[in-house]
């Protein structure tokens, strides 16, 4: 039996890739804090608090887009329910932050304000662990992970795929949204959680804390990028791509796609959950609106605009689309939906590989004449 010749494994990142990665790392960990905290206000180089908040938020979105890319771009499963995992992570964090308010709420009670308002006397069972930061960190991973695992297990086991899967994930996040809107489920109903005061006993609304969260988000994004890069390069990632391209053939070759799909689906959900947990302390609010089907679809469009099946693409996409959103919703609010809708149509019709795909194509066009000349 002759040994199958496998192509040589590509390095984790090329030399150029590593230098770009280091530049990004420096930007997040050194340059941004210096520009925001040390450069005085009024200087041209000062980075405003608004910019910090905006970029911090967009980096959370980028984590979601990366997670979406792993499941959609690399495995071919379009989820329209990733907003749910994002919101679940956010809610776990929000519960902790609500407990951190302590007696400083409007009603000066140990219970969060909305519970006093509903005339509840004690915390419901699912709030039991919310005063411990360690437990919260665990739950941020466990809750979205578990929900995704159970849902995914049943869905993938009965081989629901394609559009069916997309639609039932949408139904899932829609149902969850309705549930969280209810007051009696104990998640603050319509208003969700807000008015946070402290995190780990430190005041949350200071410039320094915002910077800490910003750096943390940036580091998480970069770490997830490396993890994703490592995953898709490994054999695991190759099986995923094989599932995307021809699932039946993968099965005929003796692989059971269930485990692979379930693993990447759960990982993707956990990444979204972590993004949500980083998002909530930065924006200071979480409510069921985050679970609306529209939000989940927006995650998909970040990945599509940037370029599916590449790892840089979704991050670029998240920055471009969210940047455009925060600019357009202020400059011309009535055009934002036209723009977003048009983006969906243009990207699917003309840019199947997104911005990154377009860049590659342009590069190839530039190179071609050079090649011809040399021969």
């Amino acid at each position: 039996m002759s040994q199958v010749q496998l192509p040589a494994t590509a390095p984790l990142l090329t030399r150029k890739g590593w230098s770009a990665f280091l530049v990004a790392l420096l930007l997040v960990c050194a340059l941004a804090p210096v520009l925001n905290l040390l450069v005085p206000q009024g200087s041209v180089f000062h980075m405003s608090d608004y910019t910090v908040a905006l970029l911090g938020r967009i980096m959370c979105y980028a984590i979601c887009a990366l997670a979406m890319d792993l499941i959609w771009g690399y495995t071919g499963i379009l989820s329209l329910g990733h907003g749910l995992f994002f919101a679940l992570g956010g809610y776990v964090m929000g519960m902790y932050l609500m407990r951190q308010i302590g007696r400083d709420g409007n009603y000066k009670s140990d219970l969060p304000d909305f519970m006093v308002f509903l005339d509840w006397k004690e915390l419901p069972w699912h709030w039991a662990l919310s005063d411990s930061f360690v437990a919260t960190l665990l739950l941020i991973v466990l809750v979205p992970g578990l929900v995704a695992f159970v849902f995914g297990y049943f869905a993938f086991r009965s081989r629901i795929k394609g559009v069916y899967f997309s639609i039932i994930t949408q139904a899932m996040t829609f149902a969850a949204m309705l549930l969280f809107f209810r007051n009696e489920t104990g998640f603050g109903g319509n208003n969700g959680f807000t008015d946070f005061k402290r995190i780990l006993g430190l005041p949350i609304a200071t410039q320094n804390m915002r910077m800490v969260l910003f750096v943390l988000t940036g580091l998480t994004l970069l770490a997830f990028f490396l993890l994703a890069r490592w995953l898709v390069r490994a054999k695991f990632g190759r099986v995923l791509q094989a599932i995307r391209d021809a699932e039946s053939r993968v099965m005929f070759s003796g692989y059971n796609p269930l485990g692979y799909k379930l693993a990447i689906w759960t990982l993707s959900a956990v990444m979204c959950g972590i993004a949500g947990a980083l998002y909530v302390p930065q924006v200071g609010i979480i409510n069921p609106g985050e679970m609306s089907p529209a939000n989940s679809i927006e995650i998909a469009i970040w990945a599509a605009v940037g370029g599916r099946g590449t790892l840089v693409g979704p991050i670029v996409g998240a920055f471009v689309v969210s940047g455009a959103k925060s600019w357009l919703t202020v400059a011309a609010p009535e055009f934002w939906l036209y723009f977003l809708g048009g983006l969906f149509i243009v990207v699917t019709l003309f840019l199947p590989n997104g911005i990154v795909g377009l860049a590659k194509k342009l590069k190839a066009l530039n190179k071609k004449p050079a090649v011809e000349q040399s021969t």
């Binding site: 394609g162 639609i167 139904a171 149902a175 679809i297 699917t348």
Partner: protein, 523 residues
């Protein structure tokens, strides 16, 4: 005063003879201190006729003037004499009659009582019902009189109930017993309330037992009404779901196009109805009651045109790529929504029911079937029948089925598949427009209209099975009824969640839907 008393006494004695309004009576009602006027009013009402009704109506409308101790009704600058109804000249020094709030209340009550003797059966019925709701011992003679003169059986029955309701508070125990027995036959929530009220103050054990048995009897019959009512609202919701899903059954079920903009096509149909309504209001106010008849084809054509344009410009390039179609059509839905917002504003617009669709059919005392819901159920069935005929019996339907079953072979047979795609998509979109036209009659019309139905209608199609008209019907009606029954137990939101969870579990078990396609075309 004494003379007037005698007069009304005489009137009471010879009740059958209609006693016309005398000038003296009119003066007593209109002129003087409030107390005196009210007494006169109450006297007059005991013996009603049309002239009195006219005078009271005029009083309620502030159309009565007084000059030199004489009373005039002034309408459209023309004064009439209240007693004779003849036109008279209005003296220059005529003054308006001022009614304080107490007087107004009395006038309104008196008007209601007068309606008991109106020649219009419907008015009499309404008045009798109003009397039933608020029993008043002082009106017993009036009720007796009305009962004696009443010819219509339905009005008679209600009057008898109203009389029993008054007697329920009677001093005489045997009268209370008969009254409770009579009220048990009424079977309406209102009488149940009356019986309960009496039960709380009743001291006699025998009467108490009778009251309780009457309440039980009413409860039994009410339960039926409630059950049927839940069934009907379920059917009604089901018919709406059916309309919303029928279009999808073509575009998604037959053609396999995931059209997330389907909800917006429904919305366009609703807005088309709104525009037609506006045009009728401006140009054809006489035919306004029939605007809906014109709106139906307009809604169909508008949505079908939008659908055809979408198919030609976007969707045709995405056949065979369902996920991309999903995203692109989602984008289209955003653009359409924002477009409608720019054109008509972000607020909901008002679409009125035509006259013939308002009101309802009183089936049981606590069960009224609103006409608009009945019309929509009939409409859904008609659309369904039309679609079944079109797909099953016409040449176009044959081509659509052929193209969906085997595109290359259909093409080889000379079918212009690209054109058939456009037609089929336009047809599905047009049916969405019809759904919008129907929805505008029962719900709010706003830019977000479609968003509320898109998840539901996809669920219906998925549950029913792709490519199956019959499945769509069963799934829509089933989901509608299930949803409404669950709502009774758990409230609207939890019912919706339960249904969604049920569908998710169901698809696990039967990914092909209730009615799976068998044979080679099944994947």
């Amino acid at each position: 005063m004494f003379r007037k008393f005698l007069l009304s006494l005489a009137a009471l004695l010879c009740a059958a003879q209609a006693q016309a309004l005398t000038p003296a009576e009119a003066q007593a009602i209109v002129i003087g201190e409030t107390d005196g006027r009210i007494t006169a009013l109450q006297q007059a009402v005991l013996n009603p006729d049309e002239r009195k009704a006219a005078l009271l109506q005029a009083l309620a409308d502030d159309a009565v003037k007084v000059a030199g101790g004489k009373v005039y009704i002034v309408r459209d600058d023309q004064a009439t004499d209240p007693a004779t109804g003849e036109k008279v000249a209005l003296p220059d020094d005529a003054e308006d009659v001022i009614n304080n709030n107490r007087m107004r209340g009395e006038i309104d009550t008196a008007l209601a009582v007068l309606k008991l003797f109106s020649p219009d059966t419907k008015l009499r019925l309404d008045a009798a019902r109003a009397m039933l709701k608020e029993p008043d011992a002082g009106r017993l003679p009036l009720l007796d009189k009305a009962l004696a003169g009443e010819q219509d059986e339905r009005v008679k029955a209600v009057l008898a109930l109203a009389r029993a309701a008054v007697l329920l508070a009677s001093e005489d125990k045997s009268q209370r017993l008969t009254a409770a027995g009579a009220l048990a036959q009424s079977r309406t929530p209102d009488t149940k309330l009356l019986l309960n009220e009496r039960l709380s103050v009743e001291s006699d054990a025998e009467v108490k037992a009778q009251l309780q048995s009457a309440i039980r009897q009413i409860d039994d019959s009410l339960r039926w009404g409630e059950r049927l009512g839940a069934m009907f609202t379920g059917l009604s919701l089901g018919s709406i779901l059916l309309l919303a899903a029928l279009g999808l059954a073509i575009t998604y079920g037959l053609m396999g196009v995931i059209n997330m903009a389907h909800g917006e096509l429904i919305m366009i149909g609703a807005y088309a109805t709104y525009v037609v309504q506006g045009l009728f209001q401006t140009y054809l106010p006489g035919a306004f009651a029939w605007y809906l008849v014109a709106a139906v084809p307009v809604a169909f054509i508008t949505s079908a045109l939008v659908g055809a344009v979408l198919e030609r410009s976007v969707i045709r390039f995405l056949y065979g790529r369902p996920l991309e179609t999903l995203l692109a059509t989602w984008g289209i839905s955003l653009v359409l929504m924002q477009g409608v917002r720019s054109l008509f504003g972000a607020q909901n617009v008002a679409v009125e029911n035509p006259v013939w669709m308002s009101g309802g059919w009183l089936l049981l005392p606590n069960l009224t079937l609103p006409y608009n819901r009945l019309v929509i159920i009939a409409f859904a069935l008609a659309v369904l029948a039309g679609m079944a005929l079109l797909i099953g019996r016409t040449r176009l339907g044959l081509f659509v089925r052929g193209v969906t079953q085997n595109r290359p072979i259909a093409s080889c047979m000379g079918v212009n598949t690209a054109r058939i795609d456009t037609y089929a998509f336009a047809l599905g979109s047009g049916i969405a427009g019809l759904a919008g036209c129907a929805l505008s009659q029962v719900g709010n019309v706003g830019p977000d209209l479609g968003q509320n139905y898109i998840v539901d209608s996809f669920m219906v199609v998925v549950l029913g099975g792709v490519g199956q008209l019959a499945g769509t019907v069963y799934a829509a009606l089933g989901l509608g009824v299930l949803n409404k029954f669950l709502e009774g137990w758990t409230g609207a939101v939890l019912a919706k969640i339960t249904v969604l969870v049920f569908i998710i579990i169901f698809i696990q078990k039967r990914p092909q839907g209730i009615f799976a396609v068998k044979g080679r075309s099944a994947e």
